[in-house]
Symmetry: C2
Subunit: 184 residues, 2 copies
């Protein structure tokens, strides 16, 4: 029973209470998205596979007259989720186009390197703001007993703050070395 990592996101998301594919997507989008995304194209087929494997169970749960299926985790599913949680994590990936551009910035004239860092910094600052906007909801949920989503959210905030600060530091370093306009 080899599950892909996205399957575990789904198992985790239905582990507290039954959810529809649509709800799972929405949950992912305002929580794990920052370190583990999932699209409809993955969620719906995966829910079917998990149901076939007996790890989740679907049940009709229409909202008014609107058709809707919610999936609940089964005992086997819970076991699979726990087994996975007990394994040391093995996927650590980062794709940062900004760092890639910075890596090659030597091919540009000197004064064009700082703007790369500026874009990166702005992006990180915007991310911090978005995460902070989510924080109150996470605090409320943490008071309800589960502190981990909030802990993870705060790691995101701290990370993005650290990164923004790093960009700023490198920016000033570059600007100190070569002033905006070299007098000719």
């Amino acid at each position: 029973m080899d599950l892909n990592p996205t399957a575990y996101v789904i198992l985790g998301m239905v582990s507290r209470e039954p959810r529809s594919g649509y709800e799972i997507k929405a949950l992912v989008d305002d929580s794990t998205r920052f370190f583990w995304a999932a699209s409809y194209g993955q969620i719906y087929p995966e829910l079917k596979r998990l149901a076939e494997a007996g790890l989740v169970e679907g049940a009709d749960a229409p909202t008014g007259g609107r058709k809707r299926t919610v999936y609940a985790i089964t005992t086997a599913g819970e076991q699979a989720l726990k087994d996975w949680l007990r394994q040391p994590p093995s996927t650590y990936e980062m794709r940062e186009e900004g760092l890639l551009k910075l890596f090659f910035a030597g091919v540009l004239p000197r004064e064009e390197a700082a703007p790369i860092l500026a874009s990166m910094r702005e992006h990180r600052q915007r991310t911090v703001e978005r995460l902070r906007a989510i924080e109150p909801k996470a605090v409320a949920k943490a008071d309800g007993g589960d502190p981990f989503p909030l802990m993870v959210l705060r790691s995101g905030i701290e990370f993005n703050e650290w990164f923004a600060e790093w960009c700023e530091r490198m920016e000033s370093q570059l600007l100190a070395q070569s002033p905006k306009k070299r007098s000719s």
Copy 2:
């Protein structure tokens, strides 16, 4: 002319001097790998496509009797690389299985959450060591004129140090809340 991001890694890697696919892979593996990886399965086909598009040019450069093709960037390729460097970066991805596990750690008994953080911390500490081992080479190259690869390498070191420290902090926080063994 729409290039995928991996194409730019290749363009960047051949922008200083002509390189073979094998060399590009080796370079990526000890530099950009940490934020932008590439496998042979991408590099060789992509080199062909770039050659067809006129952005690089292949030339036979056997080592002794061993067949070998090195690719040099063309004027058009250099232009494409610079144009790309001038666009604000748009890909920012992270896949951290550890954070995902931590996010769902509430389904485990309390005492099983800290080990997740411990694995994460150890991984980050190992990464710091690997990056530090590369640092002297990068310093030497930076003295040769291009400071950016070193700057990027150091961002990796700092990031991993920050992350390891964060894990440590959260670990003690958890252990303070619930001592290893609750006396019964």
